[in-house]
């Protein structure tokens, strides 16, 4: 029969062999939703079953049985697949990660303690030669931090690659390019604040990673690691922004990293202009990262449990 159904125009047909003879002309009734076919028996009596064959019509309990079988199959499949092959380098990898995080923790602790002690002894005067005393250790730690990108790249660590790259690039740009290349910037007070904020954040991050490598979770540390960034991260970004703003006139004047005409490449590069663009990117990046970190916080700290009265 020709019908217009959900899949468009099609020809539909089926065959049923009835138990006993029936009248040859069935009555059809077509509605919008279904097709009713009325077939009359030749002899009016009780039929044991509808069709000649033994084959039962499927009913609800059959459907349930099918579902159960399918689920059991699925569970068996999953059990076989989840038997992950044993990793022979597992302990080596863990050891390396613990060492890395430990070294970074020690480095930043040294920086933090040093800066705090000098702050107490010298007060405001410590601001002016922060770079002079701390820079070498900071260079070391931040150069070593490149390993975090490698770790993420080779899959040693589960954290995503792009935020790590953005963070490392951002920090190293400030440290090596903006501060490192301009002597004038190194004696500015903002350096103190940048280094201080960076090191406090790391004081919580690296121990948390160390413990999670071993598989221990110390709840207070988790809370600190996922909460202290809320004031510290924006403050750190603010300090970086102030640093850039202060450096722009110096780059303008000295023409460092800038290229003027005439030159064989026929292009002008104004580093101070690029820094202004970077400033905008910095604020956008902080905004995006803030949302990402907040989501992470929710995941790790879980929903707050209501206190029962």
């Amino acid at each position: 029969a020709q019908g217009h159904g959900a899949k468009g125009d099609n020809i539909y047909e089926f065959q049923i062999e009835f138990l006993e003879p029936v009248e040859p002309k069935p009555v059809y009734k077509v509605t919008q939703r279904q097709l009713n076919i009325t077939v009359q028996k030749k002899e009016s009596n009780w039929w044991e079953r509808l069709t000649k064959q033994e084959k039962r019509w499927l009913d609800e309990s059959d459907a349930e049985m099918e579902l159960k079988e399918k689920e059991e199959e699925k569970i068996n499949k999953m059990k076989i697949e989840s038997r992950v092959p044993k990793d022979p380098f597992k302990h080596l990898k863990k050891g390396y990660l613990i060492m890395y995080n430990l070294v970074q923790f020690l480095g930043f602790s040294w920086i933090f303690v040093n800066m705090t002690v000098r702050l107490f002894i010298l007060g405001k005067d410590s601001f002016y030669d922060t770079f002079h005393t701390i820079a070498d250790m900071m260079y070391f730690c931040q150069t070593l931090a490149l390993m975090e990108i490698v770790n993420s790249l080779i899959g040693l660590v589960r954290s995503p690659l792009i935020p790590a790259v953005v963070q490392i690039f951002g920090r190293n740009f400030i440290l090596f390019v903006v501060l490192g290349s301009l002597e004038e910037m190194q004696s500015k007070p903002v350096v103190f604040f940048i280094f201080y904020f960076w090191s406090i954040i790391e004081l919580f991050r690296y121990p948390y990673y160390m413990l999670s490598c071993i598989g221990i979770e110390w709840k207070p540390l988790t809370w600190l690691r996922y909460t202290t960034w809320i004031p510290l991260y924006p403050l750190g970004a603010l300090a970086e922004a102030v640093c850039i703003v202060q450096s722009i006139p110096i780059f303008s004047e000295t023409g460092k990293f800038s290229l003027g005409l005439p030159n064989p490449l026929n292009v002008t590069i104004q580093f101070s202009f690029l820094l202004q663009i970077y400033l905008i990117a910095l604020f956008l990046g902080v905004f995006v990262n803030f949302r990402h970190l907040y989501k992470q916080r929710k995941q790790h700290l879980g929903p707050k449990k209501r206190k029962m009265k």
Binding site: G8, P264, L265, N266
Partner: protein, 308 residues
């Protein structure tokens, strides 16, 4: 004989926008669109996107109602594509801009390089050559838009024109600024470099034009059927053996030659961006060809022979 009923809902709010009674089963989407337009004059057919599924693809104009998977009461969804502008119009505006903007810099208008340098001319012949090539390129594009191209979609959204013009006009200004600058430095390898670049430029322009003519010949009678383009007697079209979109290949070649000719980083940057954009377009087109034609030549790559 069954006549259909068509109801059209807004794709987001699912509100019923119109109910068409007694629609012929063999009505096309175009005809339904015209009926819809009568009820909503501001939503002309080019602006309409009619779909079966609110989040699905738009139905083509040629689709016939009774071949669609709908019951006798069909539910279609409408999405407003926003004000539309014709492709030809867009191209004309996009390409005229760079042509004239370049002249502002070539003739050294006073507001560009300062009053001291106004209306002066460069001592380097390559600067004149660059102006000729740049202008030739855009005039050729304008001619092709008017006489050669046959567009499959009539229109594009209006906001695209702002985005496209900013890109083409902005880059034209940026590269023209440096090429026509009083302190411009001609290429390091002198006449050899320039002559090589000019020859490459002419070859690529000829190639690009040949491909456009060949593609337009495929649709000679206004037919909308897509056909596989094949190499013709013209040697420039022999690139079709190796590449699905040789017009893009030649276009990138033109800009590479212009970069070599002027030895200018902004031109190089523009070339790079063109290359990236055209590779994306070429890959897209290549995939479409592969999907539509089972016997598509297997040697062909999207844009660079054997590589990309």
């Amino acid at each position: 004989f069954v006549s259909y009923q068509v109801e059209i809902l807004d794709w987001k709010t699912k509100k019923q926008l119109c109910f068409l009674d007694k629609v012929e089963p063999n009505a096309t989407i175009r005809e339904i669109g015209l009926m819809f337009h009568k009820l909503y004059p501001r939503w002309y057919p080019a602006r309409q996107s009619i779909k079966l599924d609110p989040k699905g693809k738009s139905l083509r104009d040629e689709e016939i109602l009774q071949h669609l998977p709908v019951g006798t009461t069909a539910t279609l969804y409408f999405k407003d594509l926003g004000p539309q502008i014709g492709w030809t119009t867009v191209f004309l505006i996009e390409y005229t801009g760079p042509l004239f903007i370049y002249f502002l810099f070539y003739f050294r208008m006073p507001f560009v390089y300062g009053l001291d340098e106004r209306f002066t001319s460069s001592p380097h012949p390559v600067v004149n050559l660059a102006c000729i090539c740049h202008s030739f390129h855009y005039i050729k594009r304008l001619i092709e838009t008017i006489f050669v191209h046959r567009f499959s979609h009539g229109t594009m959204p209006l906001r695209n024109i702002v985005k496209n013009c900013l890109y083409y006009w902005g880059f034209a200004a940026w590269l023209a600024y440096y090429i026509n600058h009083p302190l411009y430095t001609p290429p390091s390898y002198g006449k050899k470099q320039i002559n090589f670049a000019v020859i490459m430029f002419l070859l690529c322009e000829a190639g690009n034009f040949s491909i456009h003519v060949a593609l337009s010949d495929l649709r000679r009678n206004g037919s909308k059927i897509r056909k596989i383009p094949y190499p013709t007697k013209n040697p420039f079209t022999w690139l079709f053996f190796f590449v699905s979109c040789p017009n893009y290949t030649y276009e990138v070649g033109t800009w590479i030659s212009f970069t070599i000719m002027t030895q200018c980083v902004p031109v190089g940057l523009f070339t790079l961006l063109c290359f990236i954009q055209m590779t994306i377009w070429a890959k897209d087109k290549h995939c479409t060809y592969l999907r539509e034609f089972k016997d598509y030549p297997s040697l062909r790559m999207p844009i660079i022979p054997f590589l990309l």
